[in-house]
């Protein structure tokens, strides 16, 4: 009886609790720098409407009654904005802000929300840069039903189909390829990996999945919408695991790995509705275009969903600010192309051409200006004869006459670009100097608490310095005569990546380069392998003339993968040989390379088999060599190849597999014993090394006894004859 009563109460509670949402108005990332140094990301305009308005409008129309806006960076600006907006005055929709100054991650934010004790039931967790028009009803219902059956089903994640490009291995939103394993019947999420290593393109699934589930579907064409329906347990989990920082990387993966608690995450796939998150400049561009193409209906510019100014939609997707508020002064000879939005109060001069762009309110654009695929915010002045190509221009920027903005340029607030100055591609210009402690560390994006706080303080310091004085005095030359602003240097190595996440489309030569990248041989046994083989940038950038130069490493890995398959799946040696040969042809390698690659794989196998002592390692190596003797011998046709593998072994001992160093001589002996190496090869290797310096001779010296013995044996042989 008691139980029954409890259930009923529970049901009652569910029906009475208003639907709540937590909106994180801070992305805890720095992808929108330098713009986000001065304004929080959620207030950046997306097609002339601040992003947070899209999120709130969607929550409101989806039936959410209570929203907690968590703000951290620039919290004051967000609170001021919300105070002025109409969101606070809507009936049946309350917006409460939670302010924090020391949160550095989504994890911290949720812990704080938990401390406030404001969440009483299931809630929707989104970030303030989400654009969606999906209906939550079904997803919520599913979530509640599952929760009733299984109290461990604490989260439902919204996903959407979206094919990643086969060339760049990123989605159209500029995110990395995402691999998910989902149980097709229960929709349970079993595996989540958003950082698929492009180098080996390998995804490892636990064998246990196959035992526990009757079916698994592995997807790489799904996109994470970053809309989660969570049960209150999620918050307490964050509190229990104080090291959870990132929602996906730590929390989701943590839950998936953790067997003890047995919490489960489910997915809800949406088909006809739209959901996406502005995560980087590329997604800013893509989502803006989706909005203009009306995928987000009814959250489109010509419907006033958030107190925005009236805008009229004309033919061919041209949106113009309504004439009633204030006139757009449009020269007769100016051409406005398709899929363009021009805000009210903007004037455009003679013979200017604008296409595929968004122009904010109160801009003045001179004559003979060409603007293509750019995003220009409010009150921007563009003088005559400028050319803007896929650029992002923030509020109050002044671009003097004749300036050329190359693709991917970002001009932050109030920057002035001097006349005739060409701004190089992908450069970011800001009035604020680049924080000095911004190093090339990739972890910066999810900086641990120490560096983040440092960051903020340095930022504050920068802000305290009166902008004008600082920048005008020192940096005139950076952005042309009479220009104001710093060009931020891209962190090293980052420049290569810049094209991936920029507002500009990927340049044609990059695409051509990616196309040229090696085509995979068909290896049908690797179903799970996404074809993520392209080694981006670092190598490819200099490989235009000779596509083969970047291959040896790849080739080695490929051979190793083939070999490991042979080991684990018991593939016949002959088949391995055929596969390796085909690899050799496709990579244009010599048989010398095959030999060393195979040898390397064999030794690596020995190394990776568990061992504690040198003796065990040695035994492993012996058994590996014995098993794969024939394979090795197949590739050791001449002395040259044998010498090559000795060198390779030496190199391994020095670098990748130092464990072998002590047993070098013993293994050399075994190789000789098993007829893998001939004495000639060993001797000529030794003689070759004779002239080398001491550091190179470590192993020769180590195997001195063996070599001596060989020499003696040879002499004996000679004598006998």
């Amino acid at each position: 009886m008691a139980q029954k009563k409890g259930v009923r109460e529970d049901a009652d509670e569910l029906s009475h609790v208003p639907l709540q949402a937590v909106l994180l108005a801070d992305s805890f990332a720095q992808k929108f720098r330098p713009i986000t140094m001065e304004r929080p990301k959620v207030l950046l305009p997306l097609v002339n409407i601040p992003m947070i308005d899209y999120s709130l409008a969607w929550l409101e129309s989806a039936g959410v009654e209570e929203v907690f806006v968590f703000c951290c960076a620039h919290s004051k600006q967000i609170i001021d904005y919300l105070d002025k907006s109409e969101w606070l005055s809507l009936p049946k929709f309350t917006v409460t802000t939670i302010e924090s100054h020391d949160s550095v991650s989504a994890g911290d934010a949720l812990r704080l929300v938990y401390e406030r004790n404001v969440i009483h039931g299931d809630f929707v967790l989104i970030s303030g840069d989400t654009v969606s028009n999906m209906s939550l009803t079904q997803a919520l219902q599913d979530h509640k039903d599952r929760k009733k059956k299984d109290s461990n089903a604490i989260m439902t994640m919204v996903i959407k189909k979206s094919k990643p490009s086969s060339l760049t291995h990123q989605t159209r939103l500029g995110n990395d390829e995402l691999v998910m394993a989902i149980d097709p019947h229960t929709k349970e999420l079993l595996y989540y990996e958003d950082k698929v290593d492009a180098a080996d393109g390998m995804v490892t699934l636990d064998k246990g999945f196959l035992l526990d589930n009757s079916a698994i579907k592995v997807h790489n064409d799904k996109e994470d919408c970053y809309i989660d329906i969570c049960s209150p347990e999620v918050l307490s989990l964050f509190t229990d695991n104080f090291d959870y920082q990132h929602l996906r990387r730590h929390f989701v993966k943590g839950l998936l790995v953790d067997d003890i608690m047995g919490y489960k995450i489910f997915t809800h796939e949406i088909h006809s509705s739209y959901a996406a998150r502005v995560d980087n400049f590329r997604s800013y561009d893509t989502i803006s275009k989706d909005i203009i193409q009306r995928w987000t209906y009814p959250l489109v510019p010509d419907i006033q969903f958030s107190g925005n100014r009236p805008i009229k939609l004309e033919r061919q997707g041209i949106y113009k600010g309504s004439e009633f508020s204030s006139d757009i002064q449009l020269s007769r000879s100016a051409q406005i192309g398709p899929f363009t939005l021009v805000g009210s109060g903007t004037s455009i001069g003679d013979y200017s051409k604008i296409s595929n762009s968004v122009i904010g309110e109160g801009c003045s654009i001179g004559s003979n200006v060409s603007i293509e695929g750019s995003y220009i915010w409010d009150n921007v002045t563009i003088r005559d004869g400028c050319q803007l190509n896929h650029a992002l221009v923030c509020d109050g920027v002044v671009i003097k006459s004749g300036v050329v903005l190359e693709p991917g340029v970002v001009l932050s607030f109030k920057v002035v670009v001097g006349p005739q100055f060409p701004v190089p591609a992908y450069s970011k210009v800001s009035l604020l100097p680049q924080p000095t402690n911004q190093d090339s560390d990739e972890e910066l994006e999810y900086a641990d608490s120490g560096s983040r706080i440092l960051d903020i303080t340095s930022l504050n310091r920068a802000l305290e310095v009166p902008n004008g004085e600082l920048s005008r005095s020192s940096d005139n030359a950076e952005v042309g005569v009479a220009g104001v602003g710093y060009i931020w240097s891209v962190c090293e190595g980052g420049h290569e990546e810049e094209w991936r996440h920029s507002v500009a489309p990927i340049p044609a030569n990059k695409i051509a380069e990616l196309r040229k990248a090696p085509i995979e041989p068909d290896t049908p046994k690797l179903e799970i392998l996404p074809a993520a083989r392209v080694k981006p940038d670092v190598e490819t950038s200099d490989s235009d003339d000779d596509p083969a130069t970047d291959d040896p490493c790849d080739f080695d890995k490929e051979v190793e993968a083939t070999f490991l398959r042979a080991v684990h799946e018991g593939v016949d040696q002959e088949h391995v040989i055929i596969e390796v040969n085909s690899l050799r042809l496709s990579y244009n390698m010599a048989s010398l390379d095959c030999a060393s690659a195979i040898f390397w794989s064999v030794m690596k196998l020995a190394l990776e088999t568990s061992h504690c002592t040198e003796g065990e390692l040695f035994r492993n190596a012996v058994s590996a060599i014995t098993t794969w003797r024939d394979l090795l011998r197949h590739y050791l046709q001449s002395i040259d190849e044998e010498i090559e593998i000795i060198m390779k072994f030496e190199e391994m001992c020095l670098e990748s597999a130092k464990d072998f160093a002590p047993v070098f001589a013993k293994i050399l002996h075994i190789l000789y014993d098993k007829d893998v190496l001939t004495e000639e090869a060993i001797l000529s290797w030794a003689s070759e090394k004779e002239g080398a310096d001491a550091s190179d001779k470590i192993f020769v010296n180590q195997s001195q006894i063996f070599i001596e013995w060989l020499k003696e044996a040879e002499e004996e042989d000679d004598e006998e004859e």
Binding site: S165, G174, S272, D290, Q293, W295, T296, F324, F339
Partner: protein
């Protein structure tokens, strides 16, 4: 009034979010909202009508701008404005008339005299000139009973109660009361328009005919069912009405009522039209020139019908009559909806990868409405009977005052 303000903003929000579906529901809710606005409006003793009109205009403007595509909102706002003007006028007329007439004259006699004068057109014209009222053509056509019910009946009611004319406070209460009464009648009209239209079904649908329709319209559904109930046997072709496929819903409903129904694709309309005796469709709005704003695909059907000389009949309640012309800049003819109704975003996501920038990403256009020019329409059937497209402007003159055609701030500022 804080109360009404909350109501208004709630409804504005609903309109903005496109949460009110269909012109019938929109019209009803607009009328109800305006009724409560008027009933809660405090009005001064002098110039009450102008005050009411101003109040309604303020609200009306918000409502119209919230969803300019849904013309029914504007229609109802204008009709309410018209009602206020009419009531004011009729009160003024009775007041003036009462003063002019001998004080002891019986009201019944007065009314009778009015009725008698109605018989002569010239007399009506004279009377209307004196009362500044546009002559209602309906009042001349005696064979149409109860025509133009909304504007006419309350005015006669006002006259009959005109006894207590001198007391100003009574008058002010009376104006409000009369207006609310009239709006109630308007609401009733909106509610019963389907039945009133359906009553005429037997006159139009004959035995063994083949009817074609596209998409789903409740008016069409009830029209067809009414004919069925009168033991007419006929067949219906339903074009499915891509991309929303409302035709499927209609087909289900018709089959449930025992009608012989065939579903065809929109593209098969031209092939089937030669076998069809009549096309009966619903509309989103009827414009003042007799043109129709209708679900997408109907222009094609109308052209096909014209090619084969098949009558093209539009059934619509009088709340869909819009006093604006389609070339009017106030009119937003179309609503471009989400492309996701046409195709699955996921399947085509690689065609819209702007990053790869192969030059021409995929564009999808999904307009909600078509404009069918008046020359393609054979007949309109409204709750007041069947009309020619060229007669629409006249019908509109009965329902709306010319002063209210533009309910934008410009007029508000001007007046």
């Amino acid at each position: 009034m804080p109360d009404t303000q909350a109501l208004v903003s709630e409804f504005v929000l609903k309109l903005k979010r496109r949460k009110v579906e269909g012109s019938h529901a929109t019209a009803r809710q607009t009328a109800e909202l305006l009724r409560s606005v008027i009933s809660q409006q405090r009005i001064p003793h002098t110039n009450q009508a102008a005050h009411l009109i101003e109040a309604v205009k303020v609200v009306g403007e918000q409502l119209i701008s919230a969803n300019p595509v849904e013309l029914a909102v504007g229609n109802i706002v204008r009709r309410v404005l018209h009602i206020i003007r009419e009531e004011d006028l009729s009160l003024a007329t009775t007041a003036v008339g009462g003063l002019g007439l001998s004080a002891d004259s019986d009201d019944d006699e007065d009314a009778e005299r009015d009725d008698r004068t109605l018989l002569s057109a010239t007399a009506v014209a004279a009377a209307s000139r004196s009362t500044l009222r546009a002559p209602a053509l309906h009042t001349l056509l005696e064979d149409i009973p109860d025509s133009a019910a909304a504007p006419h009946t309350p005015s006669s009611g006002g006259e009959s109660e005109g006894k207590s004319k001198s007391d100003k406070s009574v008058r002010s209460r009376k104006l409000k009361h009369d207006v609310i009464e009239a709006i109630n009648e308007l609401l009733e009209d909106i509610d019963t328009c389907h039945e009133q239209i359906a009553e005429q079904a037997v006159e139009h649908i004959h035995q063994n005919e083949v009817i074609l329709t596209l998409g789903r319209s409740r008016t069409v559904m009830e029209f067809l069912c009414a004919a069925k109930e009168k033991k007419r046997s006929f067949r219906v072709f339903v074009a499915e009405g891509a991309p929303r496929y409302q035709g499927h819903v209609l087909a289900k409903e018709l089959v449930a009522r025992g009608l012989q129904t065939t579903v065809i694709t929109d593209s098969a309309v031209f092939a089937m039209i030669s076998r069809v005796n009549m096309v009966i469709v619903g509309a989103h709005a009827i414009m003042a020139n007799g043109g129709v704003i209708a679900p997408v695909g109907l222009n094609m059907v109308a052209l096909a019908a014209q090619r084969h000389a098949v009558p093209f009949v539009v059934v619509a309640g009088s709340h869909k009559l819009c006093p604006l012309y389609p070339h009017n800049p106030e009119v937003l003819l179309n609503d471009l909806r989400s492309p996701s109704e046409l195709l699955d975003f996921g399947e085509f996501s690689d065609c819209m990868d702007y990053g790869i920038g192969s030059g021409a990403p995929l564009h999808v256009v999904n307009p909600a409405f078509d404009y069918v020019p008046p020359k393609l329409v054979s007949l309109f059937i409204t709750d007041t009977g069947g009309h020619n497209p060229s007669y629409m402007y006249r019908l509109i003159a009965d329902y709306y005052s010319a002063d209210d055609f533009v309910v934008q701030r410009r007029t508000a500022l001007g007046s």
